[in-house]
Symmetry: C2
Subunit: 351 residues, 2 copies
């Protein structure tokens, strides 16, 4: 039997937004060709200047680190899920505007780079630093705020100094692909991927809260359909999972089917995945494969024996070690971030 | 600005079913890389035997035509839409089972080959012939009927003898791509594409109605959710259209936007495309570009000036020269064929 291969799924071309064919992928690492592409702007033109990162703001010795310098520093490897904050947006009801991501704005890989704290120590942070701002080389018209902006995001000091927050120079053992942040990318495990700024240009220590559009307008939860009441920022990933097999609305035959998928979280680790075949009245535990690393997704399996023809709905929910569990209906928010409703698949069984 | 390119969208891998990124394509001809792939089985292994087609049944001189013989006969060119009968299935409500095609199980190209009637004349049809059965080299387990089958479809005599029904040996000036029926493919303009049998192996003249599973079980409209009451076969394409720009649930700014798309039909030609911005209360005519050929889709444009922020729904409907018009809600049928409800796009407009 010939082995067919999937492609990335296009959501928009300009800027380029494509999702991973996540339901068709197996294994712990997403190859570059299946790594989802998420852009606010056209790809930046990389020049010699892009091969360095400048650190300034409330630091004692502002300076520029070249790509070579960063590569020569002691590096660490971080295997992590990267999930777009808008992943699964298409499932919100009422529907929301924005890229219509299904489950595949999600990838996993091995990043190698230098601990951000090492660079910050080298420049000497002043006592009044509250946040670190990261600027990417990508820029253009913002979607939601008039004007030209670079992509900029800040991290509170504790997240910036987390030992696994790195300035990465490699992905899966090679230099970072151009579409994923080459030459240098901030990697922030546990956070939704807007925090992992691509094409890193500048790092700035500031004494107050950063107010850029991708910090205070985009990437916020707006629970109210119209006003900004109750607004709060998107930070770490919710507990989440996806069913990879069977496919939704597929037709299968009687027998044993291996229900499969992955589960991930931004807080602790996945502790349990459960499957329901009666709309949530009863739940059975799925088998969890070993986790490959602290921030990686966990593959799960559930052998499902079907002895009666008919239509079935398979519902899956994951729990994490912080005590969180996927909700049946997640909190609706106007910009459609952080969807983590239970994954559902409808199947028809024939003789 | 860099030009980004879309990919085919995977619906299933085994068998391979992928749709064209139709909303991102322009122009009269679909290149092979964007031609949707629709399979019931794994791809057939092509041998020397596949480079010929055998004609038998109720004919006076059954014989085998080699690929070279067919290539040497007088050929005609047919530019046509090919649309999978399940195209747009994902929009049916209530939802139905089967491949979840959105708008892209649709392509258009230039087929070159020999008039089927020429071959049938060469073998001499007997008087009692009612249908012509076409067998493809692809075979395997049927989805809906237990057992092993080749893909087989029949045509009534009048459709088989239509001057534009051809045995094609070329697509867009090159030999037919392997995934699209190489070396020989039946091409039946106007009909949904299940009629255009790929990897053609055999042509058989019969005296009654063909009863194969892809003729009498699949590719039938079942209006009833459970029983077979009212069942009738899928034949020619409904009048249909798709909005290519803007994308559904996209966010745009005030100003003039060019709403664009294509419209097609299996009966006559497209005569009018209309756009509504008030849920169908009033309609404005879109500009129809020249048709490139009798069976090709027509591109349409509608300049839309938006002077107020808010959310909008753009609805489009096409009419054809047979007097048909796209319905708001098309006839629901259990296997989800022939969806031709009006294309709708939701847009949010900001300052």
């Amino acid at each position: 039997m010939r082995l067919n291969r999937p492609y990335l799924i296009t959501r928009s071309l300009c800027p380029e937004n494509m999702e991973s064919p996540i339901r068709f992928l197996r294994g712990p690492v997403t190859p570059t060709e299946y790594f989802y592409r998420r852009n606010h702007f056209t790809y930046p033109d990389l020049s010699a200047q892009s091969y360095q990162v400048h650190i300034d703001g409330l630091v004692n010795r502002p300076r520029t680190f070249t790509f070579e310098e960063i590569r020569s520093l002691k590096s660490r490897e971080v295997t992590t899920v990267l999930e777009c904050a808008g992943n699964r947006r298409n499932y919100f009801r009422p529907r929301v505007y924005g890229e219509r991501w299904e489950d595949g704005a999600l990838s996993q890989g091995v990043w190698q780079g230098v601990f951000l704290g090492t660079l910050l120590a080298a420049v000497g942070m002043q006592d009044n630093v509250r946040e670190i701002v990261f600027t990417g080389w990508d820029h253009g018209e913002s979607n939601n705020v008039p004007g030209q902006y670079h992509f900029q995001r800040s991290l509170p000091l504790n997240a910036a100094l987390d030992p696994d927050t790195i300035i990465a120079h490699s992905y899966n053992g090679l230099s970072i692909p151009v579409k994923h942040g080459h030459p240098l990318r901030l990697i922030v495990p546990k956070w939704y991927a807007m925090a992992s700024v691509k094409w890193l240009k500048q790092i700035t220590a500031i004494g107050d809260s950063f107010g850029g559009p991708f910090q205070t307008v985009d990437y916020n939860y707006y629970p109210d359909p119209v006003t900004d009441v109750g607004k709060y920022p998107v930070t770490t990933m919710h507990v989440n999972s996806v069913i990879q097999y069977p496919l939704d609305y597929s037709v299968l035959r009687l027998g044993i089917h291996q229900v499969e998928g992955i589960a991930w979280t931004g807080k602790g680790m996945i502790t349990k995945v459960e499957v329901s075949l009666d709309n949530g009245m009863t739940w059975s535990e799925a088998f969890l494969k070993q986790s490959t690393s602290r921030y990686s997704w966990r593959e799960w399996l559930f052998p499902w024996e079907v002895s009666e023809v008919g239509t079935y709905t398979i519902i899956v929910r994951a729990r994490d070690s912080s005590g969180r569990i996927q909700p049946f209906v997640p909190m609706w928010n106007r910009m459609g971030y952080g969807y983590n409703g239970m994954s559902k698949v409808h199947v028809k069984i024939l003789i």
